[in-house]
Amino acid sequence: MIATRRMRDYAGFAWMVISKIIIIIVPLIMLYVIIDKSLPLLQENGFVNILSGDDWKPAAGSFGFRPFIIGSLYVSVLAILISAPVCILAAIYLSEYAHRRILGFMQPVIDILAGIPSVIYGVWGILFIVPFVRNVIAPVAGIESTGYSVLAGSLVLAVMIIPFVLNILLELFATVPLELRESAYSMGTTKWEMVKVTVLKKTGAGIISAIGLGWARAIGETIAVMMVVGNTIAIPKNIVSPGYPLPALIANNYGEMMSIPKYDSALMFAALILLVITVVFNILMRLIIRRFTTKTADNEA
């Protein structure tokens, strides 16, 4: 009896340890494989040439990533510029002003937005955003556009990352102690003045990190962006011209990568860029955010 219980204890423990090792090892293998696969291209064409080259002719062995990197930056930075003010304003409203009933309505809204799959955002983009860019924005700017553009991609992305950034901000604002708000009020401030001197001042670094995390999420998005961004290999001239971000490059071309030499290496290099950017940003931004959340955990204890 005791023997079987001990056996079971060992078995349970072994299961836990093995699972944990898998969870830790697989990402390391992933990193290794992606680096290993992108090395041939790096060695032959040179790191600087690849990043700064404009010429993308896989069949001729020339792989210039600049259009894709610029495309990715263009779409994701524009997305976060559109999204950040909306997120910050809404987060202040929901955490400081909103009535319980409004909160009760908005929480499911945010949850559902977070759960909607990427491809559905893409469909929505084709239904509303692309025609909007074609028929409203482009004529106003005086430029012809099909609507499949950098701006369409970033508008879709801007909405996609709202729930992600908003949730981090709400968590962040909840860490500001009540006493601080009360002491601001006691100085006769209005609510907005109180928010300015307490909430925003206290969590400033955290807000910037939340935006950074949102950006890192935006740059890796694939299907939704790919459906509306136009996928033309050229550096976008303006916001209503098409672009070609890195994730779309991988998703559109993986099928041919085995038939052209070094093509597979080039696509893996695209994956490596995304991997490095997202991991580095996540580590830096989360370290800053963690300072806020652990501080309050200590206070409670």
Partner: protein, 281 residues
């Protein structure tokens, strides 16, 4: 004096507009999908496979993608579950909950969650090519499973953290081993939260398109074994929408409606279970 009330008014108006924009965005997504999808949604869409000439507007449905997506998401969720339950319990029962090691591991999982799914897809594709495996249901399940595992572990960890320490002490005092404490008491106490975590991961798995695009292939049939290719809803939507035929595009909207309904169903169930859970703990 007037100035500060004016500022208050302006900021509050801006905040309310921002909040409204978010609600309107969701509204327009749901509205657009429903209005465009409903006219093309019919029983044969849901219940039949694509027949000859389906992609030129002839008869058939997307049963292959619906069943395929369910297979894939169930498989991936199950795989993630096998990995996640022991890891989450390990973090909360075997290790000190707030120790450096555990909070470092939490951090690691959060960073993993930030890696885009296309990177997982590219990795999966490369490994499969290297091993000489064709794109298949199994490949998709493994890669999607690994992709959602960190999310699932963190979601479970959040609920397990709230299980009171008294339960551990009571279990030890009755002579329970650590494993027994973990599986019998912690897991049971956190059960509703665990179910929510599973539902959320299922939603991620069924909605993912980037991994699936690179690892599962696409087929008009329902797979009968793990090494066959499989169709999934996100890809069905994506491919049909890029067709020039209006009928086929309409079906893409109907497919999007089906996927949205599945996601809404999952999201609402998770909410209801979450509410029940709040009452019990």
């Amino acid at each position: 004096m007037k100035h500060k009330y004016f500022e208050e008014f302006v900021m509050k108006t801006l905040m309310i507009s921002a909040t409204l924009i978010i609600a309107i965005a969701l509204g327009s997504i749901l509205y657009g999908i429903v209005v465009r999808g409903i006219p093309y949604l019919n029983w044969s869409m849901i219940s039949s496979l694509p027949k000859g000439g389906y992609y030129f507007g002839k008869e058939g449905g997307i049963l292959n993608a619906i069943i395929g997506s369910l297979y894939l998401a169930l498989g991936a969720t199950f795989l993630a579950l096998i990995l996640s339950v022991p890891v989450a319990l390990y973090m909360n029962v075997f290790l000190q909950r707030n120790s450096k090691a555990v909070s470092f591991f939490r951090f690691f999982l959060d960073v993993l969650w930030g890696i885009p799914s296309i990177v997982y897809g590219a990795f999966g594709f490369t490994i499969m090519v290297a091993l000489g495996i064709r794109t298949s249901l199994l490949g998709g399940i493994v890669v999607v499973g690994i992709f959602v595992a960190p999310i699932m572990i963190r979601a479970m960890d959040e609920v397990l953290q709230r299980v009171p320490n008294g339960i551990r002490e009571a279990a030890y005092s009755m002579g329970c081993t650590k494993t027994e404490t973990a599986f019998r008491f912690f897991l049971r106490k956190a059960a509703p939260g665990i179910v929510t975590a599973i539902l959320l991961s299922f939603g991620r798995a069924i909605g993912d398109a980037a991994v699936v695009l690179l690892t599962t292939g696409y087929t008009d049939y329902i797979p009968t074994s793990l090494d066959q290719q499989v169709a999934t809803l996100p890809l069905a939507i994506f491919f049909q929408l890029s067709s020039p035929v209006e009928e086929v595009q309409g079906r893409a909207y109907a497919s999007a409606l089906i996927l949205t309904i599945i996601i809404l169903f999952i999201s609402i169930s998770a909410r209801i279970i979450g509410r029940v859970y709040k009452k019990t703990i």
